[in-house]
Amino acid sequence: MSKHTQSKPESQSLMHDQRKRRIVADVATYVLLGVLAVVWLFPIVWIFLESFNKNPAPYQNTFFPTQFSFDNYTGLFTQRNVLDFPRMFMNTFIIAIFVCLISVFFVLSVAYVMSRMRFRGRRAFMNFVLIIGMFPGIMSVVAIYFILKAMGLTSDGMTTLALILVYSAGTGAGFYVMKGYMDTIPTSLDEAAMLDGCTRWQVFTKIIIPISRPMIVYQAIVGFLTPWLDFVMAKVIARTQDNYTASLGLWLMLDKEYINNWFGRFAAASVIISIPIAILFIVMQRFYQESMAGSVKG
């Protein structure tokens, strides 16, 4: 009895305390997230506003532009004789689509085999890929150029194909995250399916791929982004401006020769490049979360 009366006020104060603590934590959370959100959006907002700046020079007196116009955008698409940006954009877009498809297929195949099948040389392969991944990629850029040249893929029309090959060929080595994910899918699913007469291939396409959708989304994003982000490989392989990818074009716009006239258009081009990626990303983000909710919990 006495015990009961004693513990009551204590638990009440604890309750009170807990609620207080939660409110403090909530406020701290929102302040932190708010500040960080500003930091994260700051450069993006700046370049967005800069793209509408009437004055296209790089270094100006005010932080945000004072006069706005669409000149940068129209200039980018109409003045195609100096830098043909629309063409660069299309080049990159085509490459990105192919790389995205091929890399998803490669990564899924390798990850499935490594996660689900046991065969001789499996460990050796995994160690081998790990070791290969430790060589710096830049090291082989020059070598890859010579190899492509020997294959006749560096002539004018073939550059797009060459870039697709270069970006997607090695993607199978990036299977580790996908395999880690597949390792958390219960093997009882596979076993049940195989008892029902599924082949390994059917298990792969009908069970593992649907469950792995969240990671496929991630992989697709990574694959699609590769050509937009890379410029070292593109710079070595695409020698003429007709074959340039968008990133090379942007790089060129900030060159000493061009920057004074092209900075405004650089900003505009940055915005335009970000749009397909952003749209794709938002679509995939939604898909990512939906599939998370539906997937089997480890």
Binding site: D26, T29, L33, A37, W40, L41, P43, I44, W46, Q60, T62, F106, S109, V110, V113, R118, R120, R122, V129, I132, M134, F135, P136, I138, M139, S140, V141, V142, A143, F146, I147, A150, L165, V166, G172, A173, G174, V177, G180, D183, P186, T187, T199, R200, W201, L225, L229, V232, V236, S247, L250, S270, I273, S274, I277, F281, Q285, M292, S295, K297
Partner: protein, 468 residues
């Protein structure tokens, strides 16, 4: 089935691999050579003969065609490629009067000779492996198609096996071919350059020089490269990779968990905001940052207008400032990726684990250290290692932000240069391919030592089925 006595080596394998152990195939090269009949043994010379005899016509035809093609290749080009490899050619281009005409005689190009030589060697190794496969296939056809009413598997049977029990071969073929041609072959090619004199003085004809280039990198007398420079670049590379990997990981994990709290509203909005920086190509955002942080760039102007500073902050001109700046900017680039990765995994942790912990009276911290962290590390250890290696090789962030500056006059590497950007400068800007290749090999050794140790000690390598 007769009992098979295992060799000592086999027993050792079995013990070491445990559940991973896969019994060896009975169709080994040794068995084929010892127990094969006449046709199997003739398959050593005439590919596919054994398969023909046992009615595997299509397979036999493929094998035979491969042999013919290889012989034609070796006869027309292969032997010549191999014979030039030791000398790398030495004929210089010349021109002169021949039969009353002035002609230009093309000289040797050592790069081409080296490339073709390396390709031929790789092709020969591949052919030897293929040869062993052909013999084993012939032996298998002999064993399976041996009896009166036994029949060796038809081509359709083989295809069916490729979809089922041997799906690994089908699924791995293309990815592996891609890796071999566009990753391994260039690597062998580049590594071999480290032992030649292929620099800006010898662009057309060069020689094998053994370990000369390694000596140049480690001695303290070199003009372009020296041991002291190498050590300072290496140290900064490791410091950078450590901070870039672990700061990103823990900050990202923290943010993901903050967003994932039960009482945080607008989870999707917050995630979307942080994802914005992924949506903007890294290339663009880095170039923009580069512009903003210039001495007369937007940030310095803003701070000066507010009256906080009198002089421009030396973001990229002072060595320490530049180093801290790139690490911080890398947080901006990398944290959204970590959030994206960790969120998926956080949501995938079995809810039973948390419920059980709650019943047992575990508090927040205990749940975090005993369930969340082990689970995340289990899934993400390979990711962390790849991120670390990725950061050692992080060309974009450094090159686009600072280009290795601030530099020191007369040295080939600046203060923020990583091994990888140094390598780029040496090969692309200076055409010192041999020195670049040496730096590349050294980078590899550093990475190999660091990551093999961590990886082999990680849970997801030792215990793949841990969370099943």
């Amino acid at each position: 089935m007769s009992t098979v006595t295992l060799s000592q080596r086999e027993m050792k394998r079995r013990r070491k691999l445990g559940a991973d152990y896969v019994a060896p195939s009975p169709y080994t090269l040794k068995n084929a050579l010892e127990k094969g009949d006449l046709f199997t043994k003739l398959s050593i010379v005439v590919f596919g003969l054994g398969n023909f005899v046992h009615k595997q016509y299509l397979k036999g035809l493929i094998f035979l065609a491969s042999e013919v093609l290889f012989i034609i290749f070796m006869a027309t080009a292969g032997v010549k490629n191999l014979s030039l490899l030791p000398s790398l050619g030495g004929r210089e281009a010349s021109s002169g009067w021949v039969d009353g005409k002035y002609v230009h005689i093309a000289g040797d190009n050592s790069v081409i000779i080296l490339l073709y030589g390396v390709c031929t060697v790789v092709l020969c190794i591949a052919f030897v492996l293929w040869w062993s496969l052909v013999i084993r296939s012939a032996y298998k056809a002999q064993v399976l198609g041996g009896g009166k009413d036994r029949r060796a598997p038809s081509f359709m049977d083989d295809i069916h096996t490729l979809l089922d029990a041997k799906a690994n071969q089908l699924l791995l073929f293309l990815p592996l071919a891609g890796i071999l041609i566009f990753t391994v072959l260039p690597l062998i090619f580049m590594i071999s350059m480290a032992f030649t004199s292929y620099d800006h003085n010898h662009l057309v004809i060069f020689k094998w020089v053994g370990l000369e280039n390694f000596k140049a990198v480690f001695s303290n007398s070199g003009s372009i490269v020296s041991g002291r420079l190498f050590l300072s670049v290496l140290l900064w590379t490791l410091v950078w990779a450590f901070f870039a990997t672990f700061l990103n990981f823990f900050c990202g994990l923290f943010l993901a968990m903050v967003i994932n709290r039960k009482t945080t509203y607008g989870k999707n909005v917050w995630r979307a905001i942080f994802s914005m920086s992924i949506a903007v190509p890294q290339f663009v955002s880095l170039l923009v940052m580069h512009q903003m942080l210039q001495p007369s760039g937007a940030i310095n102007r803003l701070l000066m207008n507010w009256g906080w500073i009198d002089q421009a902050l030396p973001f990229f001109t002072n060595a320490t400032w530049a180093r801290v700046t790139v690490i911080i900017i890398n947080l901006w680039v990398g944290i959204p990726y970590t959030i994206m990765q960790v969120t998926g995994i956080l949501q995938n942790i079995p809810a039973e684990l948390y419920e059980a912990a709650k019943i047992d009276g575990a508090n927040w911290w205990q749940t975090f250290t005993k369930i969340t962290m082990p689970y995340i590390f289990f899934v993400l250890t390979p990711y962390l290692i790849t991120t670390f290696t990725g950061n050692v090789n992080n060309f974009n962030v450094i090159y686009l932000l600072t280009r290795g500056d601030p530099g020191v006059v007369g040295e080939s590497a600046g203060k923020t240069d990583l091994l990888i950007t140094w390598l780029y400068k040496l090969t692309v800007d200076r055409s010192d391919y041999n020195l670049g290749a040496v730096i590349g090999i050294m980078t590899f050794i550093v990475l190999a030592v660091v990551s093999l140790i961590t990886y082999r000690n990680s849970g997801s390598y030792k215990n793949e089925e841990g969370f099943r």
